[in-house]
């Protein structure tokens, strides 16, 4: 069973719909036991960092996430919450990835919204994906490139498109909205 973390973030149903299309059943839950026993956990997300972290802390879900040992995938805000710190709402985050999240400098349109390809690419999650493949982004904050970075994208500056450390994976783009290539990436995660 795939568990999708239920918290105060948007687009949770689109992740569930995408898993359905791939033939995988999933539950949307914030129950620590259900999350702990799931084969895979997805932390989706469109939303605001400080209110999301507050929501997770109030329910002890921050510790639940940190204790997970199965493959975990953070998407968009999910990725940002897995970093150390976010400038959005001056927020201390989960600290899974040794990097910080910053607001794009206002030298081009913000949010970074639309389809963009990769600057660099490696890792199991993005197996079979090529640099020219476009995926869908919508975000105003980005995470800085670090040791755990497995893919980068260029908009205003190069930033983390994907990260991996131990059992934790994260992508800044929305695989659930990235047509066929997004489905391939979700399938890669489900095959881990």
């Amino acid at each position: 069973m795939i568990a999708i973390l239920k918290y105060n973030a948007g687009n949770i149903t689109s992740v569930k719909n995408a898993l359905n299309r791939l033939g995988f059943a999933s539950i949307i839950t914030d129950d620590p036991d259900e999350l702990g026993s799931a084969d895979k956990v997805i932390i989706p997300g469109v939303g605001e960092a400080s209110s999301a972290m507050k929501y997770l802390r109030e329910r002890g879900l921050d510790n639940t996430i940190l204790a997970l040992t199965q493959p975990v995938l953070g998407i968009c805000l999910g990725l940002q919450l897995m970093c150390r710190y976010s400038e959005e709402g001056d927020t201390k985050c989960l600290g899974i990835f040794e990097t910080d999240v910053r607001l794009f400098p206002p030298v081009d349109k913000i949010p970074h919204m639309g389809w963009n390809n990769f600057l660099t690419l490696k890792g199991d999650l993005l197996k079979g994906v090529s640099l020219e493949d476009d995926v869908y982004y919508v975000h105003s904050y980005y995470s800085e490139i670090c040791q755990s970075t497995t893919a980068t994208c260029d908009y205003i500056l190069p930033f983390c498109a994907a990260l991996e450390t131990k059992n934790f994976y994260a992508v800044q783009f929305h695989p659930e909205k990235s047509a066929g290539i997004g489905e391939k990436i979700l399938q890669n995660f489900l095959n881990l």
């Binding site: 948007g10 687009n11 149903t13 689109s14 719909n17 995408a18 359905n20 299309r21 469109v46 939303g47 605001e48 206002p106 349109k109 913000i110 949010p111 970074h112 919204m113 639309g114 389809w115 963009n116 390809n117 476009d134 869908y136 919508v138 975000h139 105003s140 260029d154 908009y155 929305h174 659930e176 909205k177 990235s178 047509a179 066929g180 997004g182 489905e183």
Partner: protein
């Protein structure tokens, strides 16, 4: 590189896709979900669904349609039509819409933009601005273009950006349905004035109209309806054409 987006727009009336000229003389253009699936296959980058006859009775039906679309479509889509409150937005997002668009209600109640942005994030609120050249000034018009306002398009665009809109869908009513090309001047002016993405709309008839608007304005996306519905332009051909014109698009 961030790609310029091509966005087919589906006007919905009682569950069917329709299209008219200058918002009149509506023609049937088929089942919205089937049409949407075709556009995804052709490489559309996003979709917009506008319920042009949205009423309270229709709202539940619209949420049902959104659920059907969300189940089948693997690219982002925006839904609009008759949204008056945060609750309306919540219902559409819950049904699976990625973004919502508001138009007349934003002019009537600008605070609705900030309410939606603070509750669901700027990324999900697209403010649609219909504009018309009145006495040589691009003015905002509402109610499907029927009612003029005293707002200038550029200052209203700046205002909606301040209020938290994540994107602007700008339609020139002078060009809409004419197939004579997008309005370059107001699209360029609005796009240069704001720091959020602008979607150009109204007037697409030929492939070169898309390259013109992308070359000459800073717009992030271009939206069209009838040329796609009536198979006058295939999105795949359009994107090949734009690539040849050195415009970066997703293929």
């Amino acid at each position: 590189m961030l790609k310029r987006r091509i966005i087919p727009c589906l006007d919905i009336k009682e569950g069917r896709t329709v299209k008219g000229v200058n918002f009149k003389n509506l023609r049937d253009a088929g089942d919205p979900v089937e049409l949407a699936k075709l556009y995804v296959k052709q490489g559309a980058d996003e979709l917009v669904f506008l319920d042009i006859t949205a009423t309270i009775e229709n709202r539940k039906a619209l949420a049902g349609l959104v659920e059907r679309i969300a189940g089948e479509i693997n690219i982002p889509f925006t839904v609009g039509g008759g949204i008056e409150s945060v609750n309306d937005v919540s219902a559409l997002l819950k049904a699976g819409a990625d973004k919502v668009t508001i138009n007349s209600s934003a002019v009537r109640k600008p605070e609705l933009i900030s309410e939606i942005a603070s509750q669901f994030g700027s990324q999900c609120i697209v403010v649609a601005i219909d504009t018309k050249l009145i006495n040589d000034e691009w003015m905002v018009v509402v109610n499907g273009g029927r009612t003029p306002t005293t707002l200038y398009a550029v200052s209203w665009a700046l205002n909606v950006e301040d209020l938290g809109a994540g994107e602007i869908l700008l339609t020139s009513m002078n060009n809409d349905g004419t197939k004579s090309g997008f309005s370059i001047d107001i699209t360029g002016e609005v796009s240069r004035s704001v720091n959020i993405p602008v979607i150009a709309s109204g007037g697409a008839g030929l492939m070169k109209h898309f390259s013109e608007v992308f070359f000459n304005t800073g717009c992030s996306a271009a939206l069209a309806a009838s040329i796609f519905h009536f198979r006058e332009i295939d999105i795949r051909d359009l994107k090949r054409y734009l690539l040849n014109e050195n415009i970066s698009v997703r293929c």
